[in-house]
Assembly symmetry: D2
Homo-oligomer: 302 residues x 4
């Protein structure tokens, strides 16, 4: 159980079968950093090209196609004191005619205070936010593994392999499961947000560079179809697709499969449990693929 400290020397704007940045053993921990969505690092320098440059990939020894890669997000912490967001809703999250009334997609700037654990807008032109204080809830917007069939998929979108899911539940303490499509799984991470509402409806969170620590484990011959996760309270399945209805179908299907295969429920029993206990969270409704999360409280599992 080695702890690796990895200082990135290059970044990737696709998740694909790129040369590993580091090879680690099953069970190892990595401490590293990520730049923000535009390539700015902890010192405020732009050191790599946008969009969503990713740290990695990490080759996890023993991971083979058909396995599952477990990634525990040990810690995700902003490593500078400023962030940025957009100051307009994305045009696709309002009704089509109303999109004409939206303000321009200017930047808003934020002071990120990791002592008080809050962020404050510093762009003076935004009326009504003078006393607005957003609690920090640092998360990873984009992380995942190399996809199937030798694809290299842009870090602005997501699919079965993870990617740019922009789900605000991907905070420290969460365990995430990815299907493995290539030897070593090839794990990437980046696009940190100091905070973000559901749906990433302004097209950004509070974009920021991060110090990140994660621990991986390979679950041999455990086949899943789309990312899954769990925290202290919930298990959840993640659907990445457009439209939102389809993302919801993918997430719900995976949760139904999971309940039947691992929890002793039959298809009807899993339907009844889901019908009365399911919770959905909107990950993002902005990226090329939307993200919907299907959750079941652990206290209702047999």
């Amino acid at each position: 159980m080695t702890i690796h400290r990895y200082v990135p020397t290059r970044y990737h704007v696709t998740l694909g079968s790129h040369t590993p940045a580091l090879r680690i053993a099953d069970g190892d921990t990595v401490i590293t950093t990520t730049v923000d969505a535009n390539g700015y690092d902890a010192t405020g320098q732009i050191i790599t090209a946008e969009p969503n440059p990713l740290t990695g990939p990490f080759f996890v020894e023993g991971a083979m196609p058909g396995d599952t890669l477990m990634v525990h997000l040990d810690s995700i912490t902003p490593n500078r004191t400023w962030g940025w967001s957009r100051a307009a809703l994305a045009a696709n999250v309002v009704t089509p005619e109303y999109a004409r009334a939206l303000p321009p997609r200017d930047l808003a700037h934020w002071h990120v205070d990791t002592k008080e654990w809050v962020a404050r807008v510093t762009t003076p032109s935004l009326r009504g936010l003078e006393n607005f204080v957003a609690p920090l809830a640092p998360m990873l917007g984009c992380f995942g593994v190399a996809p199937w069939d030798g694809q290299a998929i842009s870090s602005v979108t997501s699919a079965e392999h993870g990617g740019n899911m922009d789900y605000n539940g991907f905070t420290q303490g969460v365990t995430v499961y990815f299907p493995v499509f290539v030897p070593g799984a090839l794990f990437f991470l980046g696009d940190g947000h100091a905070a973000q509402g559901d749906g990433e409806i302004a097209g950004t969170g509070i974009e920021i560079s991060m110090d990140a620590q994660f621990t991986t484990r390979v679950l041999k011959n455990k086949k899943i179809n789309t990312p899954r996760g769990e925290n202290a309270e919930f298990i959840f399945a993640v659907g990445n697709a457009r439209p939102l209805d389809y993302a919801l179908q993918i997430a719900t299907t995976e949760m139904h499969r999971w309940l039947v295969s691992d929890y002793g429920l039959d298809a009807a029993g899993a339907s009844v449990l889901l019908g009365q206990c399911v919770k959905y969270k909107v990950g993002n409704v902005y990226d090329p693929a939307f993200t919907m999360v299907c959750k079941i409280p652990k206290r209702f599992l047999p």
Copy 2:
């Protein structure tokens, strides 16, 4: 501020400009009952035709087109000890090929215990639910006002006038706001659920008859475009449409309008607040129109 006790003598399967069941003054309270979605009452008799027979309409004096009707849900309580649900997910909430694997749409039966405030499945054939106990969270699936242009719209669907929204946040203690389209607003209610997961993904909650008490108030010359609501913690706007993306657009647009018109934010400020603080809840993804709820915690409002 009269309190009316109204015993229904007929029910409606559409929300439309029907003869009022009762005329009440602005500020009055009504205590009444609702049958379940199939027309069964508190005694277990089927007394009216499905689907979703509604109690009402209540003519609220002074309400005129262009006003808003405020309805406070004072109490919503199951008035019998059994409920029913479906025992299969709806085909449209799983991926299309997976729909073939779903069990038949049989009924599941429930014992509803309003003392312990829980429900238990009593259908023995459902594997894995032997120890499953669902907390009660009684809600109204379908309520709203008469729609615009003389329409009479089925109680199985929803739109700007409310209707079959099947949102599990419509519990007692919530205040709901409806646009008024006809004189007297004509308020209807029914389709109670003892509990329901997000999305009504089995096509039902735990369907049950209810004792219900509500209080109305007319907000003169207050124009809204789609239902809104609030509880102790949140304000929220409701989008009713297919697909889910469009329901989300409607809800987000209404919330953006609300923040700008009532809370002193400009269009950019409201975008930034929403971007970092919005929460979405899936009402239903089963009915002809889906329902998405856009929420802002009150503590973030200026």
Copy 3:
């Protein structure tokens, strides 16, 4: 087989169980007129309120729930020389960000020449249309029957009962089939267009009042689920719903059912025939419900 001449004395903005304008026998023909979508008649007077005021309803004797009403569109002819349309695409038919770039939703005016059978834009401000001549193809935008469960549904939308389908294939010579939901079927018609592209993507066709003649027939105990039709070359089924994907599903399902029930194909055979021979036409992508048409050339039917 009587031919009735009916001069409208009132119009309806919903399709519902309204008092019949005229009772006709099975097999009768009606010659009547329709006003345009804004209520302007042949003389250019506005004589009734928008939107989409409909002529009717016509009570067809013998039509009962569970039957099918056949309506042959004998002739549809503009009865004046001017029409109007919008001069901007609807915001929902372009990508969300592009909607900001659309021109205002001004009116464009047209001279409609029923001798040369063409229309010409007369609004001088539209650049590039100086020599543009649109062939006439007169159609009914909105027609159908009273819906199920006592509903009255706005003439701006559509569903199983027909309504505002805005399909440019509904021209004279076409036979249309509607499910009957109420005694007498209650047939309505209106919203004529002198011409219209696929999808009604500017939110209008060339809106105009019409002289219309149609002939009805009742198909007893013939149950269909959504409008169907045929012309010399095709049979077709119509799906009315949002989003377009769902409208396509409804139309395809109805066509598959039709092939199996009436043409001697089994489910696999009908799949193969559809797979290689189906054609789709976009009715409208503007109204609250979109319309997709699924067609099979008659020459491929067994």
Copy 4:
């Protein structure tokens, strides 16, 4: 203007920045072959792995990011006498509950007669198709260029770079335009269909290997956003995305841009022309991205 004869020695299941199979000059013609979607060649041997193995890529000298690659499909001809399709509709093209009633996704076999220019089903179990004869209309299901940002995207889906569009209008004689994202453009082609209905709703056309000839030309500094095309009668723009509504938005937006930039129409004039003259064709509603085609008859262009 060299004519190259290229015999494939390897195939790709992604469109990406792979080593060129052949370098050709601007204006050159290539005569080559494609295998079918499962990797079977003209002789009936399976020679490479599915899905949709592509011939290429062809590096076109002079093509640089920001240019447009023009590809004229000189000829597309089946080079064997048998093909295959699925014998069931895809589950996603029918209403969700109806999907349960679909037959299994068995194969249907076809005799493809390039003398009579027809195909006949040879699978005897399909009832009702005994006399069914499908006219041939050979097309390429999947072709396009390497995508942006170093991506390698599976040949089962499509996007701005083309790919698996499965549009039955991509027949010989058509000219197609692709945005160039990488030096040399890197053109790929494959997935031939002897015939296919709109939408590829059985999930396949009549899958077959092809002899193909195409001619390329580089349009320097001509920037387009998504594939375009033209034939003798139409110009058209292609939207590749889910859902169908979004694909339609992309195609319509590109056509509106095209009319304004190249044909002297202003934004309102282009709206009016589109509103009355546009035609849509459904490419596919089966693949991960759907395809919608927006067409304008050339006779209506100024």
